[in-house]
Each structure stands twice: as structure tokens, then as C-alpha cells.
């Protein structure tokens, strides 16, 4: 699903969080929003879903203007904190969200088993979430976002606290999803994850300071170091120091 963000602006109280954000995410791509914490990544993500309104500007997803309730069925959202029910088991959490999407019992069971396999939690499916570790919760949260087979996936820092082996497995699965035509938007401040994505936009203090394909962005840095992307807005002395 193609996502078009046009001139979006947002302020909380008097503090401007996003100004003049425009970007296009093509269907079937993995798009990365890169930025330090506090740069407005999560806010932009929530505006794109329609969770919060923007003061100015529009967002369209697959040609439909956000917010739209039917559109929500096509989106899978994984929030930054886990947003799971602690008193329910892994399986019950999946079942609840599947129920909200009105999945049939059969589809749910098949899909849930498949997803728990990917995130390596199938043996622990009856464990209560409150007994799970932080990394496990992250994986459950990812599975919840995918349970209804969304066509657009919005992942807010999905791999924080996930060990490298599993991270690789999750990335392999995300690429598999991408190949089946699903559009994926992820936010991160982990630089090495950017190389896994197709396109990236750099957010700094509510402005997009660069957007391009990841390949081109890396080409623009002087020594191929992705972290340099952060210093692209003129702080060249820092850039030199890093090389």
C-alpha cells in the first residue's frame, strides 16, 4: 500500500514536533524512519495511522485519506512499548487482537502458530505475559501486529532488546513479507538496521533532513559509515571526526 504524507505539521501545546513533513512510501518497500529519540518518529507514525490528528497536511494510505476505520484493518501497528495484557497468556493476547479483527477461529489458529514459530515462542504460548522477559514481550508484540495479515506494517523500534540471532530471523521474515507485497515502515535509531531497508528518511528536530534510497544515502557519506547520516545537516566537523 502506497503511503503519501503531504505537508504534515504537528505541535503539542506550543512545542512544534513536526514541521512540513512530506514523504512517499512505495508499495512493497521497507521504509526506515531514522532519528534520535525525541525527533518525532513516533508522532509521525501515529499521525500516519490516524491515531492522532495533524494540525496541517494530509496522509493517504492506498489512496484513502487517513483516518479511516476500514483502513485500520489493513494496518498492523507495533507500538514502542509492548502494549500487551499482562494477565493474559501469549496465546490469549493473540486471540484477543485476532478477535478485534474478526478473524475466524481456523485462520487465527493457523496464523498464530506460524507467527509464534517465527518469533520462536511456540513452546511458551501458554505463558502469562507478566512472566515474560522484555525481549519476549517485544516478539509477542510483533506477532500481535501481524496476526491479521496487514498490508501495511508500522513498527516502532521493533528490534530493541531482541538478541542478534533472533533479530536476523525477524528481518528475514520481514523481507519475506515484503516480497509478498507488504509495505513496511519501521522506526529505529539503530544504524546497522538501516542497511536492511530499501528507503530511509532522516528526522531531526521535526524536519526531514534527508530522504532517499538507502543505497544513495550511503553513497552520499564520505566513508560509507551510516552513522554519518546523522550529521548530514552541515555539522561537517563532526563528520570528519568520525571517519
Amino acid at each position: 500500500m502506497k503511503v503519501v504524507v503531504n505537508q504534515v505539521e504537528k505541535a503539542f501545546k506550543k512545542q512544534r514536533v513536526l514541521s512540513q513533513i512530506s514523504l512517499t512510501i512505495d508499495s512493497g518497500r521497507i521504509f526506515c524512519l531514522l532519528g534520535a529519540s525525541g525527533s518525532g518518529k513516533t508522532t509521525l507514525l501515529r499521525i500516519m495511522m490516524g491515531a492522532i490528528p495533524a494540525e496541517n497536511g494530509t496522509v493517504t494510505v492506498g489512496g484513502t485519506k487517513v483516518p479511516d476505520r476500514k483502513l485500520l484493518a489493513e494496518m498492523g501497528y507495533m507500538p514502542q512499548n509492548d502494549a500487551l495484557y499482562e494477565e493474559l497468556s501469549v496465546w490469549e493476547n493473540l486471540k484477543f487482537f485476532a478477535g478485534l479483527h474478526k478473524l475466524s477461529r481456523k485462520t487465527f489458529e493457523k496464523k498464530a502458530t506460524e507467527l509464534l514459530q517465527v518469533v520462536d515462542l511456540l513452546p511458551e504460548k501458554n505463558k502469562l505475559v507478566r512472566d515474560c522477559s522484555g525481549g519476549m514481550k517485544k516478539r509477542i508484540s510483533l506477532a500481535v501486529a501481524l496476526i491479521h495479515q496487514p498490508r501495511l506494517l508500522l513498527l516502532d523500534e521493533p528490534t530493541v532488546g531482541v538478541d542478534p540471532v533472533l533479530r536476523r530471523r525477524i528481518w528475514a521474515y520481514l523481507k519475506q513479507l515484503k516480497n509478498s507485497g507488504i509495505t513496511i515502515l519501521i522506526t529505529t535509531h539503530v544504524m546497522d538496521e538501516v542497511t536492511q531497508c530499501d528507503d530511509a528518511a532522516l528526522l531531526r528536530n521535526g524536519h526531514i533532513i534527508a530522504k532517499d534510497t538507502v543505497e544513495n544515502l550511503i553513497g552520499r557519506t564520505s566513508c560509507g559509515n551510516i552513522e554519518e547520516l546523522f550529521f548530514m545537516d552541515g555539522e561537517s566537523e563532526m563528520e570528519a571526526a568520525l571517519c
Binding site: 476505520r69 494477565e87 478485534l100 479483527h101 500481535v144
Partner: protein, 338 residues
């Protein structure tokens, strides 16, 4: 909607302590109240002045009697000596002077009346003139307030349960996640009301059965009608809890809201006779769901009325739940515009 109901029941099933608190805490409080307000075998102290010998001897069966040689200044005498009642006689009849109206003075009054009855099986010839130092005479006894406590206790626990879980859901951002699915706001509120309503309905049934069959609370009317009223009250408590939690930004604020919402309701629960509230403020009772519940409970438990006589209060309760439902659906717009 059904998945929300199932989820709520599942959550409480896996959280044994919350379930225990939901079911047993009200019973504990109610039992405590029962003993506090119950028959304590307290022997009242009564001072008599110039009463006949026969009466005093009989009264000593029921109370500690202090015989006085001269009539003291009532107010100071009663206060200083910790005595409940002063009894004396003149041409107009027997005077009983009491300090204030409470359960202690009620026992004194009862002792005197029992004595009178024992001496004169026929209706009293000399009139009993009761006066209170601090209050006007009224036949209001604490024992008859059981319906208030039943209503308030069940309302209290349910209100906290639903309000808190809604705030927690917002805090943990599961609410946002839930709203980022195609579910309608009406389904969210409906599921919530029904889920917690079911839990509190179970609680109401447990409370009332406990009160009637274990504590032997007297119910003049039908117990099942009481249960119906309690369940309606529980549902409105759930809705009010949800509404308040929408305006509370965290758990602390929710706790601060508890007295704000609850204490005014207790005023209108029947603890204070509504007609006596000045400036027409008593009319505010129509805005408190606890009024409908407690008024109906009073009519069933004390006056033994049936459905045909209490249906306006039941309808009031139901209307309250309906209105709150739509208010909540609108208030949820704060979190999702659709």
C-alpha cells in the same frame, strides 16, 4: 465486543488476587459493619429522678440506673457522666432526655420502652416525651440503613475496578492498540460495560446472598428483586468508572477522583433524608445513580414493596446506564476520532 468481554473475564481469571478482592473484600467490609452496627449487648446508663420504686426496679433489669435526688442540668449532666438518658416525671407525662441520636441512645430508649411495656401491658397511660439535647426526635435507627451500605459498598468496589482497569489500559497503551483496529467505539464501551458488568453482577449476587443468608439481614420484599437492583447499580458503577477514567491521566488522578465521585453519592444514598437537604440541593440526587439503587433497595428491603411500586427507580437506573453508555462512546472520541 464479545472478544473484549472474553478478554476481561480471562484477565481476571488469571489474576487470582484481584478476583479475590472483588468477591471477598466487600463481604469482609460488610461483616465488619454488621458487627459494628449490630447488637452489642451494650447496657445503657440511665439516670432517674423522682420515679416510682416499681419502675426503677424493673428498669434495672435493662439498664444501669442512677437515682438522683434533684433534677440536674440535663446537658452538662449527661455529657459529664457518660449517661445516655435522664428520666423524670411531671404532670404532662414521663420525660426522657437524651444527648443525641445514635445507637447508644437507641438502646437506652429501648430499655425504657421495654420497662414500660413490662409494667403496663396496655398502652401507656402516661405519655413518653422524648427530647434530644442535640437533635430533634426522629425514628431513624442505624439498623435500618443496611440498604445504604449494601449499595455503597458494591458501588465502591465496582467503580474502582472498572475505572482503574481503564486507566491502566490507557497507560499501557493497549487502549490505543485496541483502537487501531476496525472495532467501533460503541463495541469498545459495550464490551467494557458488559465484561466488568458481568463481574460486578456476580459480586452483587454474592454480596446480597451473603447479607441475607449469612448475616441474616432482614429483607421484607423479594431477594431476587434486590439482586436485580444491585446488578443495575453495578452496571452504572462500571459506566461511571469508565467515564471518570477518561478524564484521569494516571492512576493517582483516578484515585483522587474516587472521593470526588463517591462522597457526594453517599450523601444521596439515603444516609441523609433527601427532603431535609436545604436549598433544594436534594434534587441533585437524580443525578447520582446510587440514589436510584438505594431508594429501590430501601423500598424492597425495609418497606417490602414489589416490582410494580419500585419500577420508576429501576427505570431511572436503567436510563442512567443508557445515558452513560452514549456519553462514554462520545468521550472515547478523545482517543480516536472515528
Amino acid at each position: 465486543m464479545l472478544s473484549i468481554v472474553k478478554r476481561i473475564l480471562g484477565q481476571i481469571k488469571n489474576d487470582k488476587r484481584s478476583m479475590g478482592l472483588l468477591l471477598f473484600a466487600p463481604l469482609l467490609v460488610l461483616t465488619l459493619l454488621y458487627f459494628i452496627l449490630g447488637d452489642s449487648n451494650y447496657v445503657p446508663q440511665i439516670a432517674v429522678y423522682d420515679m416510682n420504686e416499681k419502675f426503677v426496679t424493673e428498669l434495672e433489669q435493662n439498664a444501669h440506673v442512677v437515682e438522683l435526688n434533684e433534677k440536674p442540668e440535663t446537658k452538662e449532666y449527661l455529657e459529664e457522666n457518660g449517661i445516655e438518658a435522664l428520666l423524670w416525671k411531671d404532670t404532662t407525662g414521663t420525660h426522657i432526655e437524651l444527648l443525641e441520636q445514635n445507637s447508644k441512645s437507641a438502646t437506652a430508649l429501648k430499655a425504657i420502652q421495654d420497662t414500660n411495656k413490662a409494667l403496663q401491658p396496655a398502652p401507656a397511660q402516661s405519655e413518653l416525651l422524648i427530647s434530644y439535647v442535640y437533635e430533634t426526635a426522629d425514628d431513624n435507627q442505624l439498623d435500618s440503613l443496611s440498604y445504604v451500605f449494601l449499595g455503597v459498598i458494591s458501588f465502591f468496589f465496582v467503580f474502582i475496578l472498572s475505572g482503574m482497569s481503564f486507566v491502566r489500559e490507557r497507560f499501557g497503551q493497549t487502549l490505543e492498540r485496541m483502537l487501531m483496529t476496525p472495532i467501533s467505539r460503541m463495541d469498545v464501551i459495550g464490551g467494557y460495560t458488559l465484561g466488568y458488568g458481568l463481574l460486578s453482577a456476580i459480586q452483587s449476587v454474592v454480596i446480597i446472598l451473603f447479607a441475607v443468608y449469612v448475616l441474616q439481614l432482614s429483607v421484607a420484599g423479594s431477594v431476587s428483586l434486590c439482586i436485580l437492583v444491585m446488578i443495575l447499580m453495578a452496571f452504572s458503577a462500571v459506566s461511571i468508572g469508565a467515564l471518570v477514567s477518561i478524564f484521569a491521566n494516571n492512576e493517582l488522578q483516578m484515585v483522587q477522583f474516587i472521593p470526588v465521585v463517591l462522597i457526594p453519592q453517599i450523601f444521596f444514598s439515603g444516609l441523609i433524608p433527601i427532603d431535609t437537604i436545604p436549598f433544594g440541593l436534594g434534587n441533585l440526587c437524580y443525578l447520582t445513580p446510587i440514589y436510584y439503587g438505594c431508594a429501590a433497595l430501601e423500598k424492597i428491603m425495609i418497606q417490602g414493596k414489589g416490582f410494580m411500586e419500585i419500577w420508576p427507580w429501576i427505570a431511572g437506573s436503567a436510563a442512567f446506564i443508557g445515558v452513560l453508555f452514549f456519553v462514554n462512546v462520545l468521550a472515547l472520541k478523545k482517543y480516536r476520532r472515528l
